[in-house]
Subunit: 111 residues, 2 copies
DNA sequence: ACTTTATATGAGCATATACGCATATACTTG
DNA sequence: CAAGTATATGCGTATATGCTCATATAAAGT
């Protein structure tokens, strides 16, 4: 597949949707909590300090987007990251933000 | 800087904000139009087939997020991508989506 | 100074979505 | 089958944001 052809409108909406899934602090906290492996909902609720209902909803969103995988074991449901690009995406953005912050730091130092 | 420490709430909001900036089809179209170099607003309006007002707003959003840079030349304003991570971010997401699509294609073929 | 051209912005409307509360569903155990 | 536990979901509300129309600003030419 080529790299230069412009994406169709439908493809752009998929890309946008993907970024939107990552555009919520609570969902990022969930992903962060899952960085070191699978957890069940109860553990996640505690890890991110949210309500059960809200955490559950965000987990649905991430699962529907194929970012997370779901595994049921008795009463509990375990979630895990199944999209390996998530790690790199977060690294890239964090790196970019660090540069931005050091830029700001410089500006403050100068003035 | 370490790679494993959990991000603060403030940092997570910055990361989320960054993803949110990329979570709109129109802004992605603008970025796509700028992939091969700087363009002025008029050219962008035509390239993405939007209204001047709307394009201008999205350009402000992207500029405020330090994704785009601005250069004024007479009556015209030229925008360009100044954040090099944008390219990699889009590549990663597109790659991930392609996998998703081929997964869907397989599923269709099987059933 | 007036007009024209390029870009930005204020106001209002429509839509999306995050959150909380309550309740439903699914599974286990007695 | 009743009760308890873990997770999901319907509903209402508040907030954010994208879009359009109209208008404002800024720079250039006459």
């Amino acid at each position: 597949m080529g790299k230069k052809s412009p994406l169709s409108e439908a493809a752009l909406e998929l890309v946008a949707r993907r970024f939107a899934v990552l555009a919520e602090p609570m969902r990022l906290r969930l992903l962060q909590a899952l960085f070191d492996g699978e957890k069940n909902v109860g553990e996640l609720v505690e890890a991110v300090d949210g309500t059960q209902a809200n955490v559950s909803r965000h987990l649905q969103t991430l699962t529907a987007a194929h970012v997370l995988g779901r595994r049921k074991e008795g009463l509990q449901v375990f979630y895990r990251i199944i999209d390996p690009t998530i790690f790199k995406l977060c690294e890239l953005v964090c790196g970019s933000l660090e540069k931005g912050l050091s830029r700001q730091a410089e500006a403050l130092a100068v003035e």
